[in-house]
Symmetry: C2
Subunit: 389 residues, 2 copies
């Protein structure tokens, strides 16, 4: 979810070369896309990127799902001037874990996002202006149902692996439960099969920050001033939860922004950790729509793969895919202890599940900033799939 | 810091009877109170309450320090109609750990607070209107320096114990370092000797929530609309950090506010955990001044007992008091591992320090809601002091 990744991958090799965003649109007035809540969208667009080629059997696909504020840009660069590669670049490419000489990696943008997917900033054809708050509530399952349309459109028969961190992992779970026959393996990293109270609580605080901004104007700010301070505060709150106490102590401690500042003299004096939070907030403002933030966090709250199946157990029993759960030792959003319990629950339900814990002080953000640590378990998972063919 | 306590103690026995707030005011234009940052206040008032009586030696005193949004109301009730007793009522009273037949318990309100202490809502005599943001930045040490004036005024010669949770514990530390000869023992509960980056980060988010509220008007809202939504959001953020993932799961899980609500249909649909956060936010608005929240959280950020002594080690070496550190197993604000390390550091510096960990799922709030669990170690500490007389 954080921005650290992109920074971490500045200056990496250029194996993935230049990549392009592609777009897929479906639906019509006559045949709209009906959401889980029975509301509908007459037209849905999703952005996606593809790295590698589809094989003759059309089944060598790895689907990479992004987190809360991510985009379809998982690997490569858009231009040689662009110093930053996609968010998952360390794992994707020729000879890497998601070997593009062998696999076709597909990375979509999630519904309700603002990086090429239909969302609250999109024009509502009926009204001739952006949806804003008239955009329907969507769920993680709806995101996955849109991706299924994309996968069908691309002629893909089967997914070898659906992988993602945080909200990306929620989508991986929904894939395995909603389309069990389509998926050979999933790897939810620092994620969950249904969202807990603490996550909902943080999400609600972040939403309140946005709606508190006088520029939010009940979501009708398009064309005017954007509720930048509100979104920035939401991101500041999020940023704390993506890190951990030890890493914050290591990165910032009690360092002042400016050694010459007498910290006791002004309410606005700044510790370095405050500067960092403000910078993270301002960076997100440049690339994310505040209304999308409201909708995507609500989709996360509503995430519960058991919905419609009666119980979590019943939902787990639908899963045919192998499951590799990855937890991060210092994660305060997705406690590794809970992920370990989920693994036990999955196995009791007959799922071929395994759990791996990444030793990192980076907290939740480790799924982005220390993705190399996930290479070995992912490699092993893909090898198992090949043996099983 | 939370409100859970007061609820938890509804209907407790009435041993402490009716209590009264008292006030102590000092300073003048000619002899102002000079703060750590060299700014000054011409007049300082502190509210305080006293339970029990001072002995002939004037040294049987236990000083009880409150947390961020607390007040001087540590025990008893203000009227028989009032169902709620003070925040530390379970530990204070005849026959209790802080036995008022033996000890004289003094509970002050911290400087910059708004429950009877001079703070940003007080009238600036020079301007004839509330200080607002012209109120000087104060520190935890300043709070303690004001208390020292109160203690001198009351004719108290020595403090047997200074005890408090969270910000209260920071004050206990400052007492032991600033007035080492005055203090026989301190017990900082779920607290620290200097504030870490994560706490500063949460504090900054809470302050941003207040200043984002259009009603805040750079702190000049007195007499007009109060920035209630901003303060409420600050409290909502705080509330998450005062609890823990396990207790939130136990208290709320994914329970909806209203079983008949179709959660998928509205952005404003509410989970029970959201309702709780909003209620906590609204409750604080009724009893706390938003500007005080800004100043008191900044005082917490600036807390560092080493200031002026060169190093933490040098500050620790000043301490003559016995130190009992209490950590809470599930606390996400004050990691018990860090408190244990602090104990080791104190002992290396020659301090008679000990560490006790409370097994509780309540997180940081346990220092209020499960104060009974602290009775035994506090009793043992007081017994040691008596033996040592």
């Amino acid at each position: 979810m954080g921005d650290l990744t992109m920074e971490a991958h500045e200056g990496v090799d250029e194996e993935n070369g230049l990549v392009e965003i592609q777009y897929f649109t479906f639906g019509s007035e006559a045949e709209p896309f009906v959401l889980e809540n029975q509301q509908s969208l007459p037209s849905v667009t999703t952005a996606y990127e593809v790295y590698g080629s589809l094989n003759a059997e059309r089944d060598n696909v790895i689907l990479v799902e992004h987190g809360l504020t991510g985009s379809s840009h998982a690997a490569g660069r858009y231009s040689w001037e662009n110093r930053r590669a996609g968010y998952c670049n360390a794992l994707i490419g020729p000879g890497r874990v998601f070997d593009t000489d062998k696999y076709c990696v597909v990375a979509p943008n999630a519904l309700a996002g603002c990086r090429g997917a239909t969302g609250p900033a999109s024009i509502d054809p009926a009204a001739g202006k952006p949806y804003g708050l008239t955009f329907p509530i969507v769920t993680i399952r709806d995101m996955v149902r849109v991706q299924k349309r994309l996968i069908d459109h691309l002629g893909i028969r089967r997914l070898q692996l659906v992988v993602g961190g945080s909200m990306g992992g929620m989508q991986a779970f929904e894939w395995a439960v909603t389309y069990p026959e389509m998926v050979r393996a999933i790897c939810p990293i620092a994620s969950c099969s249904r969202t807990g109270a603490q996550s909902i609580a943080f999400n609600e605080c972040m939403r309140r920050a946005i709606v508190l901004d006088p520029d939010w104007r009940k979501g009708e700010y398009y064309g005017g001033a954007v509720p930048a301070s509100g979104l920035a505060l939401a991101r500041m709150i999020g940023t704390i939860t993506y890190l951990s106490d030890p890493i914050m102590e290591q990165m910032f401690g009690r360092k002042p922004v400016d050694e010459t500042t007498s910290l006791e003299h002004s309410l606005h004096a700044r510790f370095d950790v405050e500067r960092y939070l403000h910078e993270e907030g301002e960076k997100l403002v440049k690339r994310f729509d505040p209304n999308s933030y409201l909708y995507v966090t609500r989709a996360i709250d509503l995430h519960d793969i058991s919905r419609g199946y009666g119980s979590l157990d019943a939902a787990y029993r639908r899963i045919q895919a192998r499951v590799l759960l990855i937890g991060i030792r210092s994660d305060i959003l997705f406690d590794p202890k809970q992920i370990r319990l989920m693994d036990e629950h999955l196995r009791r339900a007959g799922v071929q599940s395994a759990y791996t814990e990444i030793d990192s002080d980076y907290g939740h953000d480790a799924f982005l900033v220390e993705q190399e640590k996930m290479a070995a378990p992912l490699q092993a998972l893909l090898a198992t799939l090949q043996e099983a063919v």
